[in-house]
């Protein structure tokens, strides 16, 4: 499976994703510069974490209007897979590839901590190796991760089963105490109706090795690799 990791000015999880894909998953991967418009050879594009353009205007606002994100629309239209984590999720929302918006954490402070996520939707290429209700442990690291959408959008997300991850307690209960940033309905990650574009605030790349204290993030990548084989859409490389 061919991965691309997008680099915007100010991106910092690019190296981490690149490392996990190449050194842990042993899959081909290349960096994609934010001015590139050609994504044809890739199977999955990763929008990593960071502060693209400093996030000085709104998180993800400037990057959401960059050439590579314009090219992503086409890529998604052709069935390509997109994983946006942290700043990547913010960019996907700013670009309109996912609904809603990520706003300042309710505590008004940056939060770097371990969180538990309950898996709500296993009918996506990113989660099909997981069980519904399974609890994953992954860190977050952001100042603007409070998901917000209007009532209509939220109803649609629920009705179409587009909420993939919600912040939960260690035993999988969705509680106020387990919500680290005040996200609407504890939403940590959502997907588009086709299931091909996933946005999430937590960092799967930071939970992909035992040396880093956990491998729950790897389960998502393994789902991805497995799904491609099962679908026969792509040949595993």
């Amino acid at each position: 499976m061919r991965f691309g990791v997008v680099v915007f000015p100010g991106t910092w999880s690019d190296c981490d994703f690149h490392y996990v894909v190449s050194e842990v998953l042993h899959q081909p991967v290349r960096y994609v510069w934010h001015r590139e418009r050609e994504l044809g050879q890739l199977d999955c594009v990763i929008l990593p974490g960071g502060f693209s353009y400093g996030d000085y205007l709104r998180a993800g606002a400037v990057a959401g209007r960059s050439p590579v994100v314009e090219a992503l629309r086409d890529f998604v239209g052709r069935g390509g897979l997109v994983l946006g984590s942290c700043n990547g999720f913010q960019i996907l929302c700013e670009a309109g590839l996912l609904p809603g918006v990520l706003t300042r954490n309710e505590c008004l402070q940056y939060r770097c901590q371990s969180t538990h996520l309950v898996v709500e939707n296993v009918d996506t290429p990113f989660t099909r190796g997981l069980r519904a209700g399974q609890v994953l442990t992954m860190p977050i690291s952001h100042g603007e991760g409070k998901y917000y959408a209007d009532a209509e959008t939220l109803a649609r997300l629920k009705q179409q089963n587009l909420i993939v991850f919600r912040y939960a307690s260690a035993d999988g209960k969705v509680t106020k105490a387990s919500n680290p940033n005040g996200s609407l309905d504890n939403i940590a990650g959502i997907v588009n109706p086709e299931g091909t574009v996933l946005g999430m605030m937590p960092h799967p790349e930071r939970a992909s090795e035992t040396a880093m204290g956990g491998t729950d993030g790897l389960l998502m990548f393994q789902s991805l690799l497995g799904s491609l084989v099962e679908d026969g859409t792509f040949l595993k490389r």
Partner: protein, 740 residues
Amino acid sequence: MTGAQPKVTLDLALDAGLTAEEYDRILSQLGREPTYAELGLFSALWSEHCAYKHSRVFLARLPQRGPHVLQGPGENAGVIDIGDGWAVVFKIESHNHPSFIEPFQGAATGVGGILRDIFTMGARPIAILDSLRFGELDNPKTLRLVNGVVSGISWYGNCFGCPTVGGEIAFAPEYAGNPLVNVMCVGLVRADQIVRARADGPGNPVFYVGNKTGRDGIHGATMASATFDEHAEERRPTVQVGDPFTEKLLLEACLEVMRTGAVVGIQDMGAAGLACCTSEMPARSGTGMDVELSRVPQRETGMTPYEILLSESQERMLLVAARGREEEVRRIFAKWELEAVEIGRVTEGGELTARLNGEVVARVPVDLLAEAPTYRKPTTEPSELAERRAFDPLTLPEPSDYGDALIDLLGSPTIASKEWAFRQYDQQVGINTVVLPGSDAAVLRVKGTRRALAVSTDGNGRQVFLDPRQGAAMAVCEAARNVCCSGAEPRGVTDCMNFGSPERPEILWQFSEAIEGISLACRALELPVVGGNVSFYNETSGQAILPTPIIGVVGVLDDASRRATQWFKGPGHRVALLGPASVSLGGSEYLWARHRRLAGRLASLDLEAERRVQRAVRAAVSAGLVTAAHDCSEGGVAVALAESCVTGCAVMGCEATLVTADRTDLALFGEGPSRVVIAVEAARVREFEGLMAESAISWRWIGTTGGERLVIRVGPKVVVDVDAGQLGRAWRSGFEAHMA
């Protein structure tokens, strides 16, 4: 705007911070009166901040060499070889005064400055540690300072993308008017790809890269310039503002351009900005430099040569490229959307020539600028010190309940959990941090090898105040011991010396004694000091801070998987206390927190015993015999045991028996150097005992982990019997409750 410069007089030189003797020396060396811009160069480069005028003679006593040293002091940062072709670049620096004036931007730009020092050496920064000191938390002003400093560090480090993995925060009234913000940064570089701040090769082009220049942070002397201008108000030096986004672009652009081999040398425009770079870089190389100031990208209009040379605008570098490779440099900086403007050339002849639109505004030998006069001012032991030391803490009443006393101590802001601050810092970006903040040392793996780095900072102002020489030596020992507790071998030291005014003999005595102590400890532990920083004048209305040397130590683990953390991992593990029995309540956290006394004598320090304890701990951890190792320092063995009980994911109880001392509080809370608490699984006890026997140190089994309570006996008598959960709550809320 005009190139016309005010005439320089002795009065102006005095206003600019030079002494009459220094001004005479300039006159005789130049053989003429300096121009106004030249006066600016001297005032900046001969300032205490740049020239270490009062400290240099003392700093020369520090050991700077060692088998692993690739670069000692005198460069942007020091470099130590760690094997496998990798080297670690590290340095600590203060940003105390700016942080007091504007806590958020002051702390943020402090982080920015030290990051640049690391990546100008060609290294990618992988870790930040912050050593912070504030007044006590009952003052709303202090709360605002803490909030501002922590959020400034958080903003800059997080946005830039370097994890904050350690450091300490401590509180004492002496820091109320002068908080300390010391930032240490650690980076990794291939040992054969280190870049230095040199200007070799006459004819090579000199590039200005990064943000535009404004009137930010032009100090002292600039105020004098206002008298020559009707727009005095607009000319006021402005607060420096940090731009972590541009800094991140600078990092990537610099590392990329360095990989091409087109870079001869590079230096951060930090203190004294362009003036410092254009004189220090050629001075290191025996060359000169000729620069055209009108080409310097400017954010404001009407800037004078003086202002352009002395501006401290952030996120700027001076880069010397190899002739003929100018286009490569421009292309890479353009790719990262940064300015790279050729402003001049390296020259022969050892002079700095600065021009404005072709007209020479300054021409000075670089050696004269770079070699400021040094002083050895008188030192005197403070007269009241003998009396303070003579105080016997054992004349104070004992607590009626030692369990309560322990809970109070664990919840005192200095000892309590700093989770409130650390959760605002990204601790993991780069996926290297294998031991997160919260243990004695943070541990970062070195990808592609089996190795890891362990890093820690330490510094106890109260101990240094009571005994500067031994207190400073103990700071070195403690930082190194922290690193050893993780299983690593300490390899190098960086020091940040925070003191009051060196013009007061009592303060200079503290400084001189502290340097001697650091020097003694470093020699005994075979640790080179490869870089650091001196921050004087930390005083307000004659009230100086506690003398506070902050020591940063970097160590190497050959096998990253053979490491230890400070918290107990399970029940039934035997607990040992390594190290000498000598303890004292003098200068202890207990004496301050409970009795508000800063007095008494420190327990004696035996550097040979320290060295042996450190070696024994490392040996035990690397042999895989240890399930927890924790340095025993502030709060004594009772606090060390309590911390091992409560600082992990799950709380674990423990029963321990201490030998009787003169008094129970001394046994529990007395502090002494060279002590470590260690836990060993029952099955490995024999092996551990064998290893300790070989190590020739004093040590004893003191207890066993398990249950839900911390029970401590002194002799036969139970003196502490507390629910570990309650201890945990006190520890977790002690600092955070103030910040909520």
